[in-house]
Symmetry: C2
Subunit: 193 residues, 2 copies
Amino acid sequence: MTIRQRPDERRQGLLEATARCLAEKGAAGVSVRAICTQAGVSPGLIGHYFGGVAEAIAATYRWTGDSVGQALDAAVAQAGPAPRARLLAYLTASFRPPIASPELLGTWVAFWSLTRNDPAIAAIHAEIYGQFRHGIEALIAAAHPALADTRLPAVALTALIDGLWLELSLGHAPYSAAEAEALVELWLDALLR
Amino acid sequence: MTIRQRPDERRQGLLEATARCLAEKGAAGVSVRAICTQAGVSPGLIGHYFGGVAEAIAATYRWTGDSVGQALDAAVAQAGPAPRARLLAYLTASFRPPIASPELLGTWVAFWSLTRNDPAIAAIHAEIYGQFRHGIEALIAAAHPALADTRLPAVALTALIDGLWLELSLGHAPYSAAEAEALVELWLDALLR
DNA sequence: GTTGTTGTTGAACGATCGTATAACAACCGC
DNA sequence: GCGGTTGTTATACGATCGTTCAACAACAAC
């Protein structure tokens, strides 16, 4: 039997266990029993903290998205005051710790595949990506105040980052994280020249 | 009861049913019964044409990949002799019929999520993406004979296309297929300038 | 210490999963 | 036509799925 934990710690443990299951077994392999075994907990407990496994996965997506958002903000804060440096830090943070971990990449790909078929996941996805794009647009506007439209550059940079991230996640990508960063910087200059 | 079909037609029907299931229900929702219902066939038949559902999915990935490859080649053939036009046709074909259909996009995202966890799918993925990159590299070399390295540009273009494709697939993307094409052309010029 | 609330377990339920197989239908060679 | 091969169905099996719930353990209030 497991020792009783504080409720928020237990809930957090279940979120992390869900993320680990999604990374290891994919969207098709995650299950209540797998999650609870991963968390070292009895299968009945998922119903106590979440309404069901679907809600647990949704909460995990929200938590993962928030974590990434905080890491992005931290990278920007560390970049100093120069607008271009702040924008570049935001864009390249996806290829550095703590975001560029194999586990997080795997979890994220699983969320992509769930987004198409689960409306609740799709809503969270829209929120997360909306925030991400909004962050890029704000930093672009700060770096290039004269620019008329920030939407398309934000779309373009998001797409390149996601594409590079995807191939890094699927393994055997014929490039390094450092090369990915360099490509993002090149793309940024091409878009805002 | 279903009328008997020619074996290759029946097998092809099962491949298409599998693809439709992956698009509609995702990697987590596909099942023998769903596939066979979609194909209008009894569940036992999947074992007759494939060793099991895993093999059916793998065969579907191979068939889908071949179809995309043929569509890409057709787009190049239609583009005429100019090297740059041929390269651009190869790159933008992903955003035009028959490749840019909602069903194909959905199926493809499901394959991405399976790639991380199923070695057989991963092998097929490596083959398909190897061919795609090889195609880009050959067209780049033809268009820019003096270029030393074609690997990184091919990586970069593949990533942008996948990223744009992903967001188009997940719905509510804040851009059109035409804008995606224009971005790919811009990226091409930035890489090979 | 007693009582009541909350966390947790482990087993049970019905549903669905993938696969195997016996029976039947359709086709082919003769 | 007839026998043998192949396609197809329907069902059955064991495993696993998500969820529920009675029972028990841990803690808080008093």
